[in-house]
C-alpha cells in the first residue's frame, strides 16, 4: 500500500477544529480576551506616568490601583475558564487521533511487519500526536496575539506614526525570519527525532534479547553501538535546541531593538512640551504596546515552527496508517469519554453451520524478497483434521497467515461454504475461525480477560474451554486463579502455560475451524494429543488446520499437506505419502531427502 499524500497543515488544522466547533470557538473567545485585555494595563500605566508629572490626586491614585486589581481578578477568572476548556479540547483532539491510529493498526494485516519497531510505534502515538496537537493549541494564542498586536499597532500609530513605522521594521524582520527558518526547524527536528527513534528502537531490541546478549558476552559491543547512536543524537539535539534559542533570541530582542529605536527617534522630544513632544506616559505606553506587537510576531513564528513540526508528524502518522487518507486520522470517532464503554462484553454471535473452506491459487511474497507462497490450493471440510507440514522456510506459517488475512494475499481466492470471502481478516475470525500463532501473546490483564476477550460466556462454557485446553491444573496453581494478572506487569507464565492459555482463548470463541501453528515448542506430545482428543469429543461441528511435523499429528490427520519452497508438493494421508512423496519421507524420517 502506498502512503496517501500529506496535506497542507492548515487543512488538517481546520478539519480538527470542525470536529469540536463549540469548544474551539469558546477557546478562541477566551484566549483572544486574555491576550487583548493587557492593553488596558498599558493605558492605566500611561495614565499614571502622565499624572505623575503633576501632583496626583488621591482619588485618581485610588482609581488607578483599583482598576489594576479588578483587572487582575477578571483576567484570572478568564484564565481558569480557558484552561479547563482547553484541557478538554486538546485531550479530545489527541484522544481522537490515538483511537483512529489504533483502529487503523488493527485493520492492517496483523502479521505484516509494520515499518517501525514497537518502541517507535509507541512514540508515534505519544510524540507525533502531541506534535499535531501543539499547533492546534497554539493557534488560539496566535489569533489572540494577532488581535492584540493589531490593536496595539493601531494605538501606536495614533501616538506617533513615524516612530511606529520605524519600529515596525524589526517586527517585520521577525515575521520574515520565522517564516524562512521553518524549513530548517523542520529538518533539524526530524533528524533529532529520527535519532531518538533509533535509540529507543535499539534499546527495545536489546532488552528483548538480553539473554542472547549475555550468553554471547556481547554487552561491550552492544554498549559501544548504543553510544554511537547517542553521539549522533547529541549532535542533532544540540543543533535543534541551539537553532530554537537563536530564533527565540531574535524574537525576544525585537522589543529591545524597538525600544532603542524609540529612544533614538524620541531623543530631544521626550518630555518636551508641545505637539511634537512625547510624554513619559506615551513613551511607557509605546514600549508596553511594542511588547504586544512583538509577541504577536513571536507567536506567528512559534506557530509556523510548530506547524512545520506538525506537518512532519502528520506525514509520519499518515505513513503509519499505510494507505489511508489523512482525514481518517483526525475525523471524529466515538471516544466513549462521556459514556460507559460498551464493547467490554458482548454476545458471541452464532454463525451458520460450517461446511468447507477452499483456497485456490493463493500467493504471497514478503516485501523485497522472493520468499513466500505461490499458487497454493487447499481444502478443508467439516470434521476434518488437516496437517500442514514441510521443512523450515517452506511457507507453512506464511500460508496460514495469508489465509486468515494476517498477511495481504497477492492473488487467489478463498471460499467459505462455497461463497467467496472478500476480506478474510474480518471474516475468518471467531466465531468462524480461531487461530493460535507459534508464539502466542497474553496481555496485561487478568487471565480470565485474556481467555474471554470480552465474549459473554457462562461459567460452564469457560470451564469447558479451560478443560479442553488442559489448563485447569495451571489455574489452580496461580495465586489468584482466573483473576491472576498476567502479562509483563503480572505473573510470569511458562511457555507451556502461555500456549495452553492461547488454546483456551481459542476455545472460548467456540470456533468452527481451528487453525494452529506449530505448538511443539511449548506443548509435549501427550498434552497436544489430549487437546485434540478432548476437542473432537466435545465438538462434532469443528475442523482443524494444524502445522506440525509430529508423527502423532501426521498419523492422525485426515489429510497431510506437504509444502516445499512455498508450494504444495504433495497431499494425502501419511500412509499414502510415505509411499509416494520423497519430501514427506524426509520429514517423517528426519533425514535430508529430495530437497
Amino acid at each position: 500500500m502506498t502512503d496517501q499524500p500529506t496535506p497542507a497543515f492548515t487543512r488538517v488544522l481546520f478539519r480538527m477544529i470542525r470536529q469540536q466547533p463549540v469548544r474551539y470557538g469558546f477557546a478562541l473567545f477566551l484566549w483572544v480576551t486574555i491576550w487583548t485585555i493587557p492593553i488596558l494595563i498599558g493605558l492605566i500605566t500611561a495614565h499614571f506616568f502622565d499624572a505623575l508629572t503633576d501632583e496626583i490626586p488621591v482619588t485618581t491614585l485610588t482609581m488607578l490601583v483599583g482598576a489594576v486589581l479588578v483587572y487582575a481578578v477578571v483576567r484570572s477568572m478568564f484564565i481558569f475558564m480557558a484552561m479547563r476548556n482547553h484541557a478538554s479540547l486538546l485531550f479530545r483532539a489527541a484522544a481522537t487521533m490515538r483511537r483512529n491510529l489504533l483502529v487503523r493498526i488493527y485493520e492492517l494485516p496483523g502479521a505484516a511487519g509494520l515499518r517501525e519497531t514497537p518502541g517507535e510505534n509507541v512514540s508515534r502515538f505519544r510524540d507525533d500526536v502531541e506534535h499535531i496537537v501543539e499547533p492546534f493549541d497554539l493557534f488560539v494564542d496566535f489569533v489572540g496575539a494577532l488581535v492584540s498586536g493589531l490593536i496595539a499597532f493601531g494605538i501606536m500609530l495614533t501616538i506617533d506614526p513615524v516612530i511606529t513605522s520605524v519600529v515596525a521594521i524589526p517586527v517585520l524582520i521577525v515575521a520574515i525570519v520565522s517564516n524562512r527558518t521553518g524549513g530548517l526547524v523542520r529538518r533539524y527536528r526530524k533528524q533529532a527525532r529520527d535519532a531518538t527513534e533509533a535509540i529507543t528502537g535499539f534499546l527495545g531490541e536489546t532488552f528483548a534479547a538480553t539473554q542472547a546478549v549475555k550468553v554471547a558476552g556481547a554487552e561491550a559491543h552492544m554498549l559501544r553501538h548504543f553510544q554511537d547512536l547517542n553521539d549522533v543524537r547529541k549532535t542533532m539535539m544540540v543543533r535543534d535546541r541551539t537553532l530554537t534559542a537563536v530564533l527565540e533570541a531574535v524574537f525576544r530582542n525585537t522589543v529591545n531593538i524597538g525600544t532603542g529605536l524609540i529612544l533614538l527617534l524620541a531623543a530631544g522630544r521626550l518630555a518636551a512640551t508641545g505637539a511634537a513632544g512625547i510624554s513619559l506616559g506615551e513613551f511607557a505606553l509605546f514600549v508596553f504596546l511594542l511588547h504586544l506587537v512583538t509577541d504577536s510576531a513571536y507567536f506567528y513564528g512559534m506557530f509556523i515552527a510548530r506547524v512545520k513540526q506538525g506537518s512532519v508528524s502528520v506525514e509520519r502518522l499518515t505513513s503509519t496508517m499505510s494507505g489511508e487518507p489523512w482525514e481518517r486520522l483526525v475525523d471524529r470517532t466515538e471516544l466513549g469519554l462521556d459514556t460507559e464503554p460498551t464493547g467490554l462484553t458482548r454476545e458471541v454471535e452464532k454463525p451458520g453451520p460450517f461446511e468447507s473452506l477452499s483456497i485456490r491459487d493463493l500467493s504471497y511474497h514478503y516485501p523485497g524478497s522472493t520468499n513466500g507462497i505461490d499458487g497454493v490450493d487447499l481444502d478443508i471440510a467439516l470434521g476434518e483434521f488437516v496437517v500442514l507440514t514441510g521443512r523450515i522456510g517452506s511457507g507453512k506459517t506464511t500460508l496460514l497467515r495469508a489465509i486468515l488475512g494476517l498477511l495481504p494475499a497477492e492473488g487467489g481466492t478463498i471460499e467459505w461454504n462455497g461463497e467467496p470471502v472478500d476480506d478474510p481478516a474480518t471474516w475468518l475470525i471467531p466465531p468462524r475461525v480461531a487461530y493460535t500463532s507459534q508464539v502466542p501473546r497474553l496481555f496485561s490483564m487478568s487471565l480470565e480477560d485474556n481467555l474471554v476477550l470480552g465474549a459473554k460466556l457462562s461459567d460452564d462454557e469457560l470451564a469447558e474451554s479451560i478443560h479442553i485446553a488442559t489448563m485447569r491444573h495451571d489455574i489452580e496453581l496461580m495465586p489468584d486463579g482466573l483473576e491472576t494478572l498476567v502479562g509483563p506487569r503480572g505473573v510470569r507464565l511458562s511457555g507451556g502455560q502461555v500456549q495452553r492459555s492461547a488454546a483456551a482463548r481459542m476455545f472460548t470463541r467456540a470456533p468452527q475451524l481451528l487453525v494452529l501453528d506449530d505448538v511443539s515448542s511449548a506443548l509435549d506430545v501427550e498434552t497436544e494429543q489430549t487437546l485434540w482428543r478432548r476437542l473432537f469429543e466435545a465438538r462434532s461441528d469443528v475442523a482443524a488446520l494444524v502445522v506440525s511435523h509430529r508423527h502423532s499429528a501426521l498419523a492422525r490427520a485426515d489429510r497431510v499437506v506437504v509444502m516445499e519452497k512455498g508450494r504444495v508438493v504433495a497431499v494425502g494421508t501419511a500412509e499414502q505419502l510415505a509411499e509416494t512423496s520423497e519430501a514427506f519421507q524426509a520429514i517423517w524420517e528426519g533425514v535430508v531427502g529430495g530437497g
Partner: protein, 583 residues
C-alpha cells in the same frame, strides 16, 4: 520540592569532565544577567536627561549603548544555551551508557519481570527528563533566580521602601507557589501514571495485533482503550486547573507590584525622593521581574517530574544483580567439564513457586557430549540457564572446569560457554551486525567462512545485499528455522569450549535438522556439550544420557550401556519406536 540535592548527588560525577565548559557557562550567565540589569539604568539616565533638557546629542549615545547591550545580551544567551545543551547531552549520554551497561549486567530474573518498554522509559525517557532538567535548572531556574535577585537588590538601592515591599510580595508569592506546587504534584503524578498505562497498553497492542485480530478482539481492546481515556480526561482537566492556579498566583504578584509602584512611586516622587527616571526604572524592574517568576513557575512542574525520574534512575542503579560473582577466577586453560552437585532450583518470580530442579547431580567429563531428555517442564531449559549462569541454584553447586559458577569471572565464562536457544532475537540492523552483535572486529572473511560451513551460502545469496542486508525487527523476515541457523552462526563465530544446545531443534522440522547435523558435528568436535532435545535422534551422538522427570534425574549413564540395558528407561524409549516418546 525541587530535587536539587538528589540531582547533584546523581549527577556531579557526570558533570565533572565538563568542568571547564560549565565554568564558562556560569560566566556567560552572569554576564547576560548583568547586561539585562544594566539596560533599564540607561533608560533612567535618558529620561532624567530629557527632563533636564539635555540636547539630543547627549542622549543619542545612550540610545545606541542600549541597542548594543541588548544585542550582546542575546548573543551570549544563545551561546549559553549551546553550552548548556552540549554539557547536558554529553553528561546524560554517559549516564545512559552506564545505565544500559548496569541493566545488561542484571540477572535474568530482573529482566523477566521488566518489559523492554519500561527499560526504554528508564534509560531514555527518565534520563532525557534529567537532561532537560539540566538546561531548565541551569538556564531557567538558576539564571532567572539570579536575575530576580539582582532586580531586588537594585530596587533596594533605588528606594529601600519599594525594595522592601516588592521583596515581601515576591517571597510571599514564592511561598504560595511552593505550597500550591505541593498540591499539584500528586495530580501530575496521577496523570503520568495513566499516561504510562496508556502507552504500555498501546505498546502491547501493536506488538500483539496478530493475536488480537485473529481472535476478533479488536472491539474488546478498543473498549479497554476507551476506559483508560475515560479515566485520564478528568485527571488532565484537574492538572490544567492546577496550572491555572499557579499562573494566577504569579500574575497576582505582578499586579500587586504594579500597584506598589503606583502608590510608592507617586508618594516618593511627590516628596522628591525619586526622580521621574527613577520611578520609570522601578516600573521597568517590576515588569522585568515578571518574566523570571513566570519562567521559574513554568519549570517547577518539570523539575518535579525530574525528581521522580531521579528516584527511578537511582532505584535502577541501586538494584543489584542477584548473581554477584563471589570471585573472579579464570577458568583453567584446559578442556572444561561440567558438574551438577545436588542442585536444587526454583524460579522465585514464577506462579506456584514450584521446585524446578530437585537434587540434580551429574558429571560431564571434558570433551563428552551429554544428551538431556525429559518432558516439557522437566527442567531441561533450567539446566541450560544454570550452566550459562543466567540463574544461580538455591541449593547445591554447578561447576565448570572444577570451579563453582559463582567463582568464575563472568566475561571468561561467557567466552568459553555458549548456548543456542529456540527463541532467536534479531536486531533491525544488517545481517553482519546481527551475526556479530555489533562487534566490528570480526572480519567478513571469517563470517563468510562460518556461513559456508553451515551451508547457508544459498540463503546469503538470496539476500538483496548480502551481509549488508538489513533485517526487520522481531522475526526479521526470517522463518523460525532460518533464525535458528543464524543463531548457530553466532555461536560458531565465538568458538566456545562448552556448548549448550537448548531445544535447538524444537522448531526445526526434521529435514532441516538433518541438514544441521553435520554442522552440529563440527561444533561438538573436541567440545564439552549438553544437548537438550525432544527427539531421541538428536541425542544419538551423545556419549551419556541424562533423563529428567519432574526435576529429578531418573536415569543417568553411558548411552551405549543404557541402550543395551533392556530395563533402562532409555532403551524403553528407543523400543517404542517413536522418535519423540518423551516430548
Amino acid at each position: 520540592m525541587i530535587p536539587v540535592r538528589a540531582y547533584f548527588r546523581l549527577f556531579t560525577g557526570y558533570l565533572r569532565p565538563h568542568r571547564a565548559k560549565a565554568t564558562l557557562l556560569g560566566a556567560l550567565l552572569l554576564t547576560t544577567i548583568a547586561l539585562q540589569l544594566a539596560n533599564p539604568q540607561l533608560i533612567k539616565r535618558f529620561i532624567d536627561g530629557a527632563v533636564a533638557g539635555e540636547p539630543a546629542s547627549a542622549l543619542i549615545p545612550i540610545a545606541i549603548a542600549f541597542i548594543v547591550i541588548a544585542l550582546t545580551h542575546q548573543l551570549f544567551a544563545v551561546w549559553a544555551t549551546y553550552l548548556a545543551e552540549q554539557i547536558g547531552w554529553s553528561a546524560t549520554n554517559q549516564l545512559r551508557a552506564d545505565l544500559t551497561d548496569h541493566v545488561l549486567r542484571l540477572d535474568m530474573g530482573f529482566h523477566k519481570g521488566t518489559s523492554p518498554g519500561e527499560l526504554i522509559e528508564r534509560i531514555d525517557g527518565d534520563v532525557t527528563a534529567l537532561s532537560n532538567f539540566f538546561s531548565s535548572m541551569i538556564i531557567k531556574v538558576l539564571g532567572n533566580g539570579a536575575l530576580l535577585l539582582g532586580i531586588l537588590v537594585l530596587l533596594w538601592l533605588e528606594s529601600w521602601i519599594v525594595g522592601l515591599a516588592i521583596t515581601v510580595f515576591t517571597v510571599g508569592t514564592f511561598l504560595g507557589l511552593f505550597r500550591l506546587h505541593g498540591v499539584i504534584v500528586p495530580w501530575q503524578k496521577e496523570i503520568r501514571a495513566t499516561s504510562a498505562e496508556m502507552y504500555g497498553f498501546i505498546g502491547e497492542q501493536v506488538d500483539g495485533r496478530e493475536d488480537i485480530e485473529a481472535s476478533g478482539a479488536t472491539e474488546f481492546m478498543l473498549s479497554r482503550f476507551d476506559a483508560i481515556q475515560r479515566k485520564w480526561l478528568p485527571q488532565v482537566i484537574r492538572g490544567w486547573t492546577g496550572w491555572a492556579m499557579m499562573w494566577s498566583a504569579s500574575m497576582a504578584l505582578y499586579f500587586v507590584s504594579i500597584a506598589v509602584v503606583f502608590v510608592f512611586g507617586s508618594l516618593l516622587f511627590g516628596v522628591g525622593a525619586l526622580t521621574l527616571g527613577s520611578v520609570y526604572l522601578v516600573y521597568q524592574y517590576v515588569e522585568m521581574a515578571h518574566r523570571p517568576i513566570e519562567q521559574i513557575r513554568e519549570e517547577l512542574i518539570d523539575l518535579q517530574k525530574a525528581g521522580a525520574s531521579i528516584e527511578r534512575v537511582e532505584e535502577l542503579l541501586a538494584r543489584e544483580s542477584a548473581l554477584i560473582p563471589r570471585n573472579d577466577r579464570r577458568l583453567p586453560d584446559e578442556p572444561l567439564g561440567v558438574q551438577f552437585e545436588n542442585v536444587t532450583f526454583r524460579y522465585d518470580d514464577e506462579a506456584g513457586n514450584e521446585t524446578i530442579l530437585d537434587n540434580v547431580s551429574f558429571d560431564i567429563a571434558p570433551g563428552r557430549v551429554v544428551g538431556l531428555l525429559g518432558r516439557t517442564g522437566s527442567g531441561k531449559s533450567t539446566i541450560a540457564r544454570l550452566v550459562t549462569r543466567m540463574y544461580e541454584p538455591q541449593g547445591g553447586v554447578v561447576r565448570i572446569g572444577g570451579l563453582a559458577t559463582w567463582d568464575i569471572d563472568i566475561a571468561d565464562l561467557r567466552r568459553r560457554v555458549a548456548m543456542v536457544t529456540q527463541d532467536v532475537q534479531l536486531f533491525r540492523a544488517t545481517v553482519r551486525d546481527n551475526l556479530t552483535f555489533f562487534d566490528n572486529s570480526i572480519s567478513d572473511e571469517r563470517l563468510l567462512e562460518v556461513i559456508h560451513r553451515l551451508e547457508l551460502d544459498e540463503w546469503l545469496a538470496s539476500l538483496p545485499a548480502g551481509l549488508d542486508s538489513k533485517l526487520e525487527s522481531g522475526a526479521g523476515g526470517l522463518s523460525g528455522g532460518q533464525a535458528q541457523l543464524l543463531a548457530f552462526t553466532r555461536v560458531y563465530l565465538r568458538d566456545p569450549e562448552v556448548v549448550v544446545l537448548d531445544e535447538a531443534s524444537s522448531r526445526l522440522d526434521p529435514a532441516t535438522e538433518a541438514l544441521l547435523e553435520r554442522a552440529v558435528d563440527h561444533l561438538l568436535e573436541n567440545r564439552t556439550a549438553i544437548l537438550i532435545a525432544h527427539r531421541l535422534a538428536t541425542v544419538a551422538r551423545a556419549d551419556d544420557i541424562v533423563i529428567l522427570e519432574d526435576g529429578r534425574v531418573v536415569e543417568y549413564g553411558e548411552r551405549r550401556r543404557l541402550e543395551s540395558d533392556p530395563k533402562s528407561v532409555f532403551s524403553r524409549l528407543l523400543a517404542t519406536g517413536m522418535n519423540e516418546a518423551l516430548t
